[in-house]
């Protein structure tokens, strides 16, 4: 059964008709074209689909689109402003934190949420914050470094 769903994504309002059983991830990727959020397990255990909802990291694969109405949704596509990478994105690029890049959007969104609430996280706090995001390429080392350096540059 389709319903009219209103979503606010990256500052823009969207209105779409979608089945009520659609997850936020499916709507973002298939209806709105935000393919930056990735599906890697679809069962909430990897963090590749992480988006920010009212500033908090949520797993869009376990979020009903219909329950995301009225929230401020930020996806990886909404992070760079006017062609300028967000400092965290730049840091990921510069510090070798990106290998295949598939976990990257989720990692960056999680990292952003952390830095938004904690200006200078310790290494342990970074590890903890990204411990719901799986990466198979990097061993997390350079991802942790990229987040840390961004924090240092900001303060």
């Amino acid at each position: 059964m389709k319903k009219l769903i209103e979503l606010k994504v990256n500052g823009e309002e969207y209105e779409i008709a979608a089945d009520v059983n659609r997850t936020l991830l499916e709507v973002l990727r298939e209806e709105l074209g935000f393919t930056g959020s990735k599906e890697a397990c679809d069962l909430g255990a990897c963090g590749a689909c992480t988006v920010l909802m009212d500033g908090r990291p949520v797993l869009s694969c376990l979020t009903l689109a219909i329950e995301a109405q009225g929230k401020d949704i930020l996806t990886i596509e909404g992070l760079a402003k006017e062609g300028e990478l967000h400092p965290l994105q730049k840091s990921f690029v510069d510090h070798g934190a990106i290998q295949c890049g598939f976990c990257t959007p989720g990692m960056i969104m999680t990292g952003k949420a952390l830095l938004d609430r904690n200006l200078s996280p310790t290494e342990d706090e970074i590890r903890e914050a990204i411990s719901g995001n799986l990466c198979r390429c990097t061993g997390y080392v350079k991802i942790i470094e990229a987040v840390k350096v961004t924090a240092e540059q900001q303060t």
Partner: protein
């Protein structure tokens, strides 16, 4: 993996939600954080016709201090409990439990209510349609065979919710509302020792609040969770302990095991073994030994022998007692 189709209902009040539950009976499921239910639905373990979304009901998300008692709204996020100073300060056993639950993302989405109602789990149950078609339906799924204990007639799926042993150790209660009445019962009375029908909630009943009594003075608590990974992992064996001291002797104690049975197991003998005594290593060992005896895990966690989980009930209990003791204040 798509979700199966369903009708989405959005009640504006608890009583409306209870009426919906009553009307749609077993065809409806309540959704709070969705971190457990939606996974089961994607795997077609659950296929409710109606989802009753609680997010539209106001005032279910709170941590309120009433004197030293605490009341927690049922939609309170696990991460809010994790950050709550009240919880950290007065209920360390619960603080431990919420800290090691799932992953940061899951804690930021999942609610205390969801964890209390977490379905029992089994490596033959939490699987896909393909898996079930290949190996056959198990007891919990309505089939006639237990893949874990071939001749078993009872389902041994495990209670793996982290907060529940902690809440029981705190003598917490829940407020339950139904279409016609409201009641308050101890958390420990919520569960049957049965993997299939694990919860005593009636069809139209909704838990709306968790109530934790003030801790006794000179008390401490701890929750110890054994897991393979430090994140995204359920417990293989867990123990929640609260205790209080008087004149250097153990006055009260609660020992509750998680993940080694279909319901949390309160080990009364372990509690008795400590009460009135100085908690020396020998006394703690003795108490832990009762935990070992009461733990009854079966082979339903992949690659982990039940004998190991049983042994770990002892170790987790011992460690939790020691940690609780060190926290007494």
């Amino acid at each position: 993996m798509r979700l199966p189709s369903f009708y989405y209902l959005s009640p504006k009040s608890i009583s409306e939600a209870c009426s919906m539950l009553k009307e749609y009976n077993k065809n409806a499921k309540v959704i709070a954080g969705g971190t457990d239910l939606l996974v089961s639905m994607k795997q077609r373990v659950k296929t409710p016709n109606y989802l009753i979304g609680l997010k539209g009901i106001s005032d279910l998300n709170y941590i309120r201090q009433n004197g030293k008692d605490v009341k927690i709204g049922i939609l309170t996020l696990i991460s809010d409990l994790e950050q709550s100073n009240v919880i950290k300060e007065h209920f360390p056993v619960l603080a431990d439990a919420v800290k090691c639950l799932g992953s940061p993302h899951l804690r930021g989405m999942g609610t205390i209510g969801g964890n209390i109602c977490l379905d029992t789990r089994c490596c033959y149950y939490n699987q896909s349609k393909f898996f079930r078609k290949s190996v056959g339906l198990c007891l919990k799924f309505g089939g006639d065979v237990c893949h874990v204990l071939k001749k078993g007639k009872k389902c041994f799926a495990i209670s793996q919710a982290d907060t529940v042993p902690a809440l029981i150790a705190l003598d917490a209660k829940v407020k339950i509302q139904s279409t016609d009445k409201e009641k308050v019962i101890p958390v420990k009375d919520l569960y049957y020792d049965d993997g299939k029908d694990y919860m005593k909630l009636k069809n139209d009943e909704l838990i709306t609040e968790v109530q934790i009594p003030a801790p006794a003075s000179n008390s401490g608590g701890s929750y110890m969770k054994l897991r393979i990974r430090k994140s995204i992992d359920f417990a293989l064996s867990a123990a929640a302990v609260t205790l209080s001291l008087k004149d250097g002797l153990c006055e009260e104690a609660r020992v509750v095991l998680g993940s080694v049975g279909s319901a949390p197991i309160r080990v009364v003998k372990a509690e008795e073994a400590m009460k009135g005594k100085k908690l020396t290593n020998d006394v703690i060992e003795e108490a832990a030994n009762f935990a070992y005896k009461d733990a009854k895990p079966v082979a339903n966690i992949v690659d982990v022998p039940p004998s190991y989980r049983k042994e770990m009930a002892r170790v987790m209990t011992k460690r939790a007692v020691k940690e609780a003791l060190s926290r007494v204040k």
